[in-house]
Symmetry: C2
Subunit: 322 residues, 2 copies
Amino acid sequence: MNVLVIGAAGMIGSKLGRRLARDGSLAGKAISRLELHDLVPCDVPAGVPVGSSAGDLSSAGEAERIIAARPDIIFHLAAIVSGEAEQDFEKGYRINMDGTRALLEAIRASATRPRLVFASSIAVFGAPFPEAIDDCFFNTPLTSYGTQKAISELLISDYSRKGFVDGISVRLPTICVRPGKPNKAASGFFSNIIREPLAGHEAILPVSDGVMHWHASPRAALGFLLHAASLDLAAVGPRRAITMPGVAVSVGEQIAALRKVAGDAVARRIRREPDPFLESIVAGWPRNFAPRRALELGFTADRSFEEIIRIHIEDELGGRIV
Amino acid sequence: MNVLVIGAAGMIGSKLGRRLARDGSLAGKAISRLELHDLVPCDVPAGVPVGSSAGDLSSAGEAERIIAARPDIIFHLAAIVSGEAEQDFEKGYRINMDGTRALLEAIRASATRPRLVFASSIAVFGAPFPEAIDDCFFNTPLTSYGTQKAISELLISDYSRKGFVDGISVRLPTICVRPGKPNKAASGFFSNIIREPLAGHEAILPVSDGVMHWHASPRAALGFLLHAASLDLAAVGPRRAITMPGVAVSVGEQIAALRKVAGDAVARRIRREPDPFLESIVAGWPRNFAPRRALELGFTADRSFEEIIRIHIEDELGGRIV
């Protein structure tokens, strides 16, 4: 089978490409061809035959070009991130909304009906919230990024209902521990306070210990995408946007887990430097979910935040803590 | 003040144009200019100075042209109806989604910040439902029309949040009694079984008496739009899509109300001719709502289905029943 990953140069996309190339199969079938696409060139992993191309999904003819090989399964992970979509209104809508629509229109015109797995986000939700957000809670995004994700979900559901594609939108929790350098994303501290101390560096904690949030490891996120690719969508019905399970923990519980896994010396590398503006942004973010549908459909979260830390140590640090 | 009505040739749009021209004021201010726009030419009512034009909102330059006079309040009622949007996928998305976006983009480029009142629909909801749909229930449309309305709502909320427009989406109930000839809309029977007997004609009832639905008179719908135009949206906050109040009645209760208002001879003009296919379509439609936000914001529904019938007799039949 022929598999396409769009957004394959990103953090999750590159992990997914490597995993698919290594596994050599998906949904119980051998992968004959893996195509990787992003705005920038992708690393080409070893394993199955891999093609790679770079371009803007929203530009004329690009979506048609990248599905010309008639993929059986498409992972659509391409997006301008939240902060950039908020700063550059036009670019966010072009990539995150028009890009998805261009892909759907190219698929409709091709008269194929591939499985489409779309990486959506809990940013489709905006405060105020109930204590735990259930599967029937409405979308009131407080960012353009969240709006674009919610619109993409609606399009994918409608194109699926009409039989033009067989799509599913998986709303990913915040990915933690995000590997790489600290970045300026407002949510960066959730990962920084784990990754940096484990690497021997100091980390800044800009919010109070009581801030609760919804997390999944990169490994769990890959699991969601792969499971969504192989799921029987007849059981899902016409409601094709599904909130993924995660681990709801407070920052204080994150730090306690770090202390338990790596010791007090590591946990002491977190320095509290409150930022009231950032705290006010974070107050609008989801804290906790009751993702019953996803659990019933067999999506599996990390078991605890300790496990999330151990996964980071295994997958990113070769098992070693500095 | 300068007022624009887009979709002014439709049933609600033409009533709104006549009402604004007659009132001569809106939100406590005199109307200096009323501009009417539709795909087809509009009737020009007497009263305030009225301009009128015809064109496709989604075609290049049209949205810029119709807001060139910098309206203070815009009513956006233009849409391809549900059945046609379902049959002509491309046309539905072009008019109902791209048209709304073109309007929002023209407003953004104009650097004005008009009040935008968007006529949305309970078609943003799709079964299964709870007994009464509350204000936090999610949008899972089962038609392309409903999808396009839900996407328009999301866009209007995001453009409002960014300060490009001051928008509000009012989700209208099914309008009953719809004046004019019986049409082929799947929902047509809700009006047909009242309007036709009152005019001395037989009406076909294709569903069972237990079918419940959510209704508002044309007069109530105008009230919603006018109230939305004058409302203080600071009190509404960032959640700009609001389900309007209505009257939840079963078909049996509709008929009982008709009998009470117009007598048994009129009610006997309804002929039962069950259509299992239509009944299955209707089973996916909303039955009842708990529209608390709208009520708190001062939107007012009809008091009963009897009142809905009396409004039809007053406003459309000059008070006379055949």
